[in-house]
């Protein structure tokens, strides 16, 4: 079957003259990529799975001892790790919900004939193009209690956005919303412009009000693409590290990936951190799978 997928090499081509067959050309393209993937992705993945069952520490020369499921047992019984998960969950929900509302809202506003629509869309997409670290550094300045522009503009005096343990997580989420709403907006725009105009006309003729039209026509038709945006953003938000790490170092903003980083590279608990990484991986996979199942259901309807 594999060979039938390949178009035959032109006999008179230069490649054929050099004695290369279809198969060898195919291999020439594919094998380097596969090798690269194995060396840098699959091998570490499996190797770290092995480490997760040991008490290996990369900072010492001590040999790794096999400890079985001890790492997993400890981690799942550790209230601190659970609190990290809780923080992450809260962060994901706030941030994704915010992005969805802002992104879809802006898309609805843009989905009409307005002057400079193209320019406006491009400008709105800019935050998404920036580097996480740059955004983090910028917003740190914007949030600054004494000279930050946010406090100045809102007249909040010296409100501590990032130093306040209760506020810090929301501040990080807000930055994330600012940065990634354009992504949701972009996907929503694609979804909205794919809704046939004649459906809206039919609804107008059928005397449906704007809310009725929105909930009965627009939303169901955009739902699948919105779900894709949610999947992407959830996965990304779950893995957030740099933004939170740069902005603040409150215990209340210690997301699971920050905990993981500290465990692996500050405490040098290599084996245990491998186990934690696996737990995170399984969680992300599980959540994504639920979404994908739901997405398929939405699509089928």
């Amino acid at each position: 079957m594999a060979t039938t997928m390949i178009t035959t090499l032109d006999r008179s081509s230069r490649a054929a003259a050099r004695g290369l067959s279809d198969i060898s050309i195919r291999n020439l393209f594919i094998i380097p990529t596969v090798l690269f993937l194995i060396v840098f992705n699959i091998f570490p993945l499996i190797y770290s799975l092995g480490y997760s069952f040991t008490d290996f520490r990369a900072s010492t020369n001590a040999p790794a001892n096999f400890v079985g499921l001890q790492n997993y047992r400890d981690l799942l019984n550790d209230p601190y790790v659970w609190s990290n998960f809780a923080i992450t969950a809260k962060y994901v929900i706030i941030s994704v919900a915010g992005q969805l509302l802002v992104g879809f809202g802006v898309a609805m506003l843009l989905n009409r004939d307005i002057p400079l629509k193209g320019l406006l869309t491009t400008l709105l997409l800019l935050p998404m193009m920036l580097s996480m670290a740059v955004v983090g550094l910028f917003w740190k300045l914007l949030y600054d209690p004494s000279f930050g522009i946010i406090n100045y503009a809102l007249g909040l005096g010296t409100f501590e956005w990032l130093a306040d343990p209760k506020m810090a997580l929301y501040a990080v989420a807000l930055t994330d919303i600012w940065m990634w709403s354009p992504f949701v907006m972009l996907l929503s725009l694609a979804g909205l412009s794919a809704v046939p105009k004649h459906l809206y006309e039919a609804a107008a003729i059928d005397r449906a009000g704007p809310f009725y039209t929105f909930f009965r026509i627009t939303l169901p038709l955009v739902a699948p693409i919105l779900m894709i945006a949610v999947i992407f953003r959830t996965m990304e938000a779950f893995k957030t590290f740099d933004l939170a790490y740069i902005l603040t170092s409150q215990p209340t903003t210690e997301l699971i990936s920050i905990r993981l980083y500290k465990m692996a590279f500050q405490e040098w608990q290599t084996g245990r951190s491998c186990a934690l990484a696996y737990i995170v991986l399984i969680m992300v996979l599980a959540i994504t799978n639920i979404y994908v199942k739901y997405l398929n259901k939405v699509k089928e309807r």
Partner: protein
């Protein structure tokens, strides 16, 4: 039920003029067909009445009330489009319920069910009610979208080429169904089509539209037998009316390029009396004759060769060639002719229509 009037409507889209000085009068309970080629402005006219577009000039009156400021919802029209525009992801029942469910005019559930069932029965789609719309065939979809129009009891039904995306058999069946439905409901229908057969077979009245102007309105019979100009003559009828250049000499039609002659039995008298007759004599004209009024006869005055034969079962359509003029003749299927066979033909002199050569206007219509 409503009486619709368009008064001096013009509509431009940027530089493009879609409609110019359009006047239209659709009586209450009438099945009015707007006939025209693609791009003639039919759909624009429909959308103006529906309230989806605003006219650049002129007035739209429904029951004598100027509806310029009314939106589509207030005009209370139903629109059936060529592309079905069913709401995806809903079942047929949900689609039919859609216009009845908005909160503002929410009907009691029993009433909704009753109306949906009645519409489904009328259109014979009862067995499809619980199916998703994307699992329907084209004909079924179009029935559902007609159903969505009739559950509401609107004042006017507007139909934009609802049948043109369907295959021939189904089109014929739905044509009859629609006509029956209209009679049953006694509703005002405005039906837009480019298919002259649909127009002739369904319409109480037909309006022929060309380049944004109404050329002629009348019953199908009038349009067919007494077309206002050469455009209508060649657009309506399949095969279209034969149009031959010529002039009238001593009560005989003389075809100019070839000088073959045909009798023209007192034609001038029938068509406007002696006054026109004198003016018509010798003036360049176009003679129009329907293919069914051209007949083959052994002693007939003109000789022609059979250029082509189309067998339609019930009849044959011959293309006859005289010099470099061709004309169509509909003859009984049993007529035995072969291509390139010489035949003699004549026309029914009473049925000849004369058009002015320059303007193309029917002399009977010219004032």
């Amino acid at each position: 039920m409503a009486h619709i009037q368009l008064k001096n409507i013009s509509k431009t889209f940027g530089n493009h003029t879609a409609l110019t000085g359009l006047d239209l009068d659709i009586a209450d309970g009438e099945f009015f067909v707007l006939l025209g080629e693609t791009g003639a402005g039919k759909t624009t006219t429909l959308r103006l009445i529906a309230g989806l577009e605003k006219p650049s000039e002129g007035q739209v009156l429904i029951d004598g009330v100027d509806v310029a400021d009314w939106g589509a919802a207030e005009r209370d029209v139903a629109l059936v489009l060529q592309q079905y525009s069913l709401y995806p992801r809903y079942t047929v029942r949900e689609n039919l319920e859609f216009p009845l469910k908005p909160k503002i005019r929410r009907l009691p559930d029993a009433e909704i069910k009753d109306r949906v069932d009645r519409a489904a029965r009328t259109l014979r789609i009862e067995h499809l009610l619980d199916r998703k719309t994307d699992r329907l065939s084209g004909g079924e979809m179009q029935r559902v979208s007609i159903g969505r129009a009739i559950v509401r009891k609107p004042r006017v039904f507007l139909m934009d080429e609802p049948l043109s995306a369907l295959d021939a058999k189904l089109r014929e069946a739905l044509r009859t169904e629609l006509k029956n439905l209209q009679m049953q409901l006694g509703a005002t229908f405005l039906f837009v089509t480019h298919d002259q057969i649909e127009a002739m077979s369904m319409g109480d009245k037909v309006g022929v539209l060309n380049h944004g102007r109404i050329i002629q309105t009348g019953t199908p019979h009038e349009i067919y037998n007494n077309p206002r100009d050469t455009y209508v003559a060649s657009f309506v009828g399949s095969p279209p009316m034969n149009l031959i250049d010529g002039k009238l000499v001593n009560g005989r039609a003389v075809m100019t390029p070839l000088n073959f002659e045909l009798p023209f039995s007192g034609g001038t008298k029938t068509y406007g009396g002696a006054k026109t007759g004198a003016a018509t004599e010798g003036r360049p004209l176009v003679f129009g004759i329907r293919p069914e009024d051209v007949y083959l006869e052994s002693g007939a005055p003109v000789e022609a060769r059979v250029h082509d034969v189309e067998n339609h079962g019930v009849e044959k359509i011959l293309t006859l060639r005289v010099g470099d003029i061709t004309l169509r003749a509909t003859v009984p299927a049993r007529t035995d002719v072969a291509i390139e066979q010489p035949v003699r033909f004549a026309w029914n002199p009473d049925k000849v229509v004369m058009f002015d050569k320059g303007s193309g206007v029917n002399l009977r219509h010219a004032s």
